[in-house]
Assembly symmetry: C2
Homo-oligomer: 250 residues x 2
Amino acid sequence: MIASRLEVVDTIHLRRPTAPFLCRLKSSVGLTDKEERLVEALQADIHTYAMGTHIHAEGDSTVHPWVVATGWACRMRALPDGRRQIISFFLPGDSIGVLGLQHEAVQCTIAAITDVELLNATRLAEAVNHMAADMPNIIEVFRKEAIYRRRQQLDNILRLGRLTALERTAHLILELHDRMEIAGLAHDGRYPLLLTQSQLGEALGLSLVHVNRTMQQLRHDGLIELKSGWASIFDRERMELLCDYKKIVV
Amino acid sequence: MIASRLEVVDTIHLRRPTAPFLCRLKSSVGLTDKEERLVEALQADIHTYAMGTHIHAEGDSTVHPWVVATGWACRMRALPDGRRQIISFFLPGDSIGVLGLQHEAVQCTIAAITDVELLNATRLAEAVNHMAADMPNIIEVFRKEAIYRRRQQLDNILRLGRLTALERTAHLILELHDRMEIAGLAHDGRYPLLLTQSQLGEALGLSLVHVNRTMQQLRHDGLIELKSGWASIFDRERMELLCDYKKIVV
DNA sequence: CGATCGCTTGACGTGGATCAAGGTAGGTGG
DNA sequence: CCACCTACCTTGATCCACGTCAAGCGATCG
């Protein structure tokens, strides 16, 4: 029994590029056969972007629709003097450019933080945007997705505007955990965290040095551990209390 | 001639509660007769909220749809210890709760900053959300509106995360100007700014005292003037340069 | 005419930035 | 296998932008 369960886990999590996306979908709805097939078909067209390259350049009018299979990406904006702000992250299972609201006015660069494998989601985007009658569950998921993302944005504004460095850092670590968990990539409070401290700083509005010291304090207080690319949350309750974090439930 | 022009201005800007909204609509599209009538009909049901009251309480699932006729409101979130962050402002001509994406997960309070007159926009919201075939222009405006607001959110994130106090303040003053201008309520770089310095601080992630000093510097540098509820932008170009502001064009 | 609200100013404290210098690990070429 | 490089993390010293505290000031209002 145990062996077979492990096998399933292995099959789902390691082998199939659609696994994180499927995991997200199935965490909130079931899928019709037709929908299953649409998702399966995504694997037919995989694209790889190397670490540091741009998936979407600022100013391009339409974002090609993708679903992240592996790796992390981010949306960011830069100032003329080099200051940069990471607006949001794209994790495995997240979609890029599928939800509408595309316009060059939203001038953002989308960059690959690690090497990233992307599934071409053109068909998926068509189904979602034309409200295809035979894809009710997928459409429902993306409706909720829009709400979920909006909430993330608002959390981010509160984080940047009102939280201290310690609170901000804790808040982001919790957010990333919950998102990785939804994609089936976090277990027992532990998930792969591939960001450099410099990138964390760019997302949190803090300097690299201060991120380092802040995380040392979180570690010292027994709240988290960060080692060789993995984050572990030891004391979820105290973490949530520290930064007034509330899990997003849609 | 001049007299009659003034009269028009008077009629449009002072008398009709739908004027700011109409001005926004017409700045980007024409309207069919049917659409005109729908907008006119908004005046039939006006609601007033007193300064400081809540238009929408955090946690309520659906936001009643309104269009702001007069006054300013804001969306904000609070922390248990009393810290507050203003997420965004609602100015005359702005809609509240008309765009979809409503959900209790987006826990925000909407509060009246000044006394606010709101037009009941139930019918408008129905038309927009059901994509009524006979309201093509209004639907187009709200499609663009979603993009516009999103861009504002991203600007806000950049502002809070990466700009200095001086830059932030300048950036917000420019944003508010451009929005008032679209509603026909700014002329020659001058518009009514009804916010207290404390409220500006809550939007900018700064303390009241620092907002005061920052605005003094902007004034001292000859960039703006703030007097008795009016903001004037003297040197738009230097202001834009100072904070890398880019007008949102949708 | 006090009371309240918002603006202003000064003195002082501090969170986080900046500067500078190692340290460590993986990666590459000889 | 070693020597070197580069990317990232860590640490200490110092600086400064902004917060906090406290007081006063001018309007508006009942």
